[in-house]
């Protein structure tokens, strides 16, 4: 589904990732770990086309983004859902409108979606905040809202950067449960986290693969987790 072939990336002339070759398979559940500053966010940016590789080749749903213009890249992005480490919203719209935004933007908003949006808000336990504006949300509420927005277009892959960083264990396990549910529906999931407990919990429910960034390379972690 998303394939990296010997990809290098760095900022300026400081290399961050080197010789990354891997494939994210449809229906897979992937964790990415590594110390702070290792390049987790950087790798997720490559996966969501926020940056392009410096060397090597990456294809997304079989498409090489090098051959696409800016609109083509926007269209590819509509097939992914992303939860950022620092989630941004449109502050002048309500939470409900923000969650519906990907539908608007891709021109797919229909009245019959209103029910889906309510379900989605309940799913992340934010139905009581539907009419609040983003600056009125707490840190953990924002992360859950970002998750709801990320899945509204039924993306083929969900990418989440530290999605439980600001929420307590109980809520964190709930969020993980939501991702497992999505994965069971056939979606690919990629989660960057430093929370090894979270990974252990997930492994009880799905056969997740764990990747670790080590000295600019991405390697598969063994069974030690």
């Amino acid at each position: 589904m998303i394939a990296f072939d010997n990809v290098d990336f760095g900022y300026g002339d400081q290399p961050i990732l080197a010789g990354v070759s891997l494939t994210l398979e449809p229906g897979g559940f992937y964790f990415l770990t590594g110390p702070s500053g290792a390049g987790k966010t950087t790798f997720l940016n490559l996966v969501t086309l926020a940056t392009l590789p410096k060397a090597g080749r990456a294809t997304f749903f079989g498409i090489d983004p090098a051959g696409e213009d800016r609109d083509g890249i926007a269209t590819l992005r509509q097939r992914m859902g992303m939860v950022h480490q620092n989630c941004q919203f449109l502050d002048h719209l309500t939470l409900r409108e923000n969650i519906a935004l990907p539908l608007e933007v891709s021109g797919r908003r229909r009245p019959e979606h209103d029910g889906d949006i309510s379900d989605l808000l309940a799913w992340v336990a934010l139905d009581h905040r539907a009419d609040a504006h983003p600056p009125e949300l707490s840190g953990g509420e924002r992360q859950r809202a970002a998750l709801a927005r990320a899945v509204i277009l039924s993306p083929e892959i969900l990418v989440a950067d530290e999605p439980t960083g600001n929420i307590d264990r109980e809520m964190g396990e709930k969020v993980l449960g939501l991702m497992v549910e999505l994965n069971r529906l056939g979606r690919t999931i990629l989660v960057a986290t430093h929370d090894l407990d979270l990974i252990r919990t997930a492994k009880r429910d799905v056969s997740a693969r764990v990747m670790r960034i080590n000295d600019r390379r991405i390697e598969l972690a063994g069974a030690e987790l």
């Binding site: 392009l52 800016r70 502050d91 935004l101 933007v105 277009l153």
Partner: protein, 296 residues
């Protein structure tokens, strides 16, 4: 063609896309206000340019090769003087036409210099001949001959001072035209500043929209639409106000020269809101894509 189509598509309203850009409040009002004020100035600069153009045309083209012979009536008598003057003029080479003005025309010609109409009634109107001269005409020869044969005659050559008026008018015209250009330039700058303010204020909005898969035109459209409409509205108001003042002035005698003559000139002022809208459109679009292409 493609640019026009995209311009039209950008201008076409889409209330949902518009809602994506937060309301801009005071900044929006300021932009419309500045655009209106500039359009108001532009109206007068354009009016001055047109008036100067008319004056230059009247004074240069119309009077080219024209002169007047004025013969105050002496004891000799009107008819005898007229006959003498006609003979001299018909014998002077280079005078292609010499037409004696009737009493009505004479009064019309003199009245601006005299003012009180009763004076014109009171005096013995001078004889006035309107002359047309060939390009090779020699005024010194005529003056010489008049001195000998019709000494009371006053020969007015229009070219000297009409030329000066025409040149002055030409300079005023260029100055006014420069002001029109400056006003449009400042309008473009004002809209660019306002658009940049809005884009900067909403940098995160734009980034967020790109991240969730919005196309550039989707993001730009709402901004461009809003500022084009704002530039158009402001300029329409300013132009209307300016034209209203011009129309008011055209009733009083003093500055009526400034007010446009004829339908064509009035319509010309439609350029101001149109050009403001086009400049607003281009400035905002440029600013929006400038911001967008820096994002992934």
């Amino acid at each position: 063609m493609k640019a026009l189509a995209s311009a039209l598509s950008l201008l076409r309203g889409d209330p949902k896309a518009d809602a994506v850009v937060p309301p801009s409040g005071a900044t929006g009002h300021l932009t419309a206000l500045a655009t209106a004020a500039l359009a108001f100035l532009t109206v007068f600069a354009l009016a001055a340019s047109l008036a100067a153009d008319r004056a230059a045309a009247r004074w240069s083209g119309a009077l080219q090769g024209q002169s007047t012979l004025e013969v105050p009536i002496t004891a000799e008598g009107r008819e005898a003087q007229a006959a003498r003057a006609e003979r001299i003029l018909s014998q002077t080479p280079g005078i292609t036409r010499a037409e004696q003005l009737d009493a009505e025309q004479t009064r019309a010609l003199l009245s601006p210099w005299i003012g009180d109409p009763s004076v014109l009634e009171a005096i013995d109107l001078p004889l006035i001949f309107a002359l047309r001269e060939a390009p090779d005409f020699d005024p010194a020869g005529l003056t010489q001959r008049l001195r000998g044969e019709l000494p009371e005659a006053i020969y007015h050559r229009h070219e000297a001072w009409s030329g000066r008026i025409a040149r002055t008018a030409g300079q005023v015209q260029w100055l006014a035209f420069t002001f029109v250009a400056i006003c449009f330039g400042v309008t473009a700058v004002v809209v660019t500043l306002a658009a940049r303010a809005a884009l900067a204020m909403h940098a995160r909005v734009i980034e967020t929209l790109r991240v969730i898969g919005a196309r550039d035109t989707y993001v730009a459209r709402a901004f461009v639409r809003r500022f084009t409409l704002r530039g158009l509205t402001g300029a329409l108001i300013g132009t209307a106000l300016g034209l209203a003042v011009l129309a008011a002035l055209s009733n009083g005698p003093e500055l009526s020269a400034l007010s446009p003559h004829g339908f064509g000139e009035w319509v010309l002022f439609a350029i101001i809101p149109l050009l403001s809208a086009i400049l607003s459109f281009a400035a905002t679009r440029r600013a929006a894509f400038h911001v967008l292409t820096r994002l992934a």
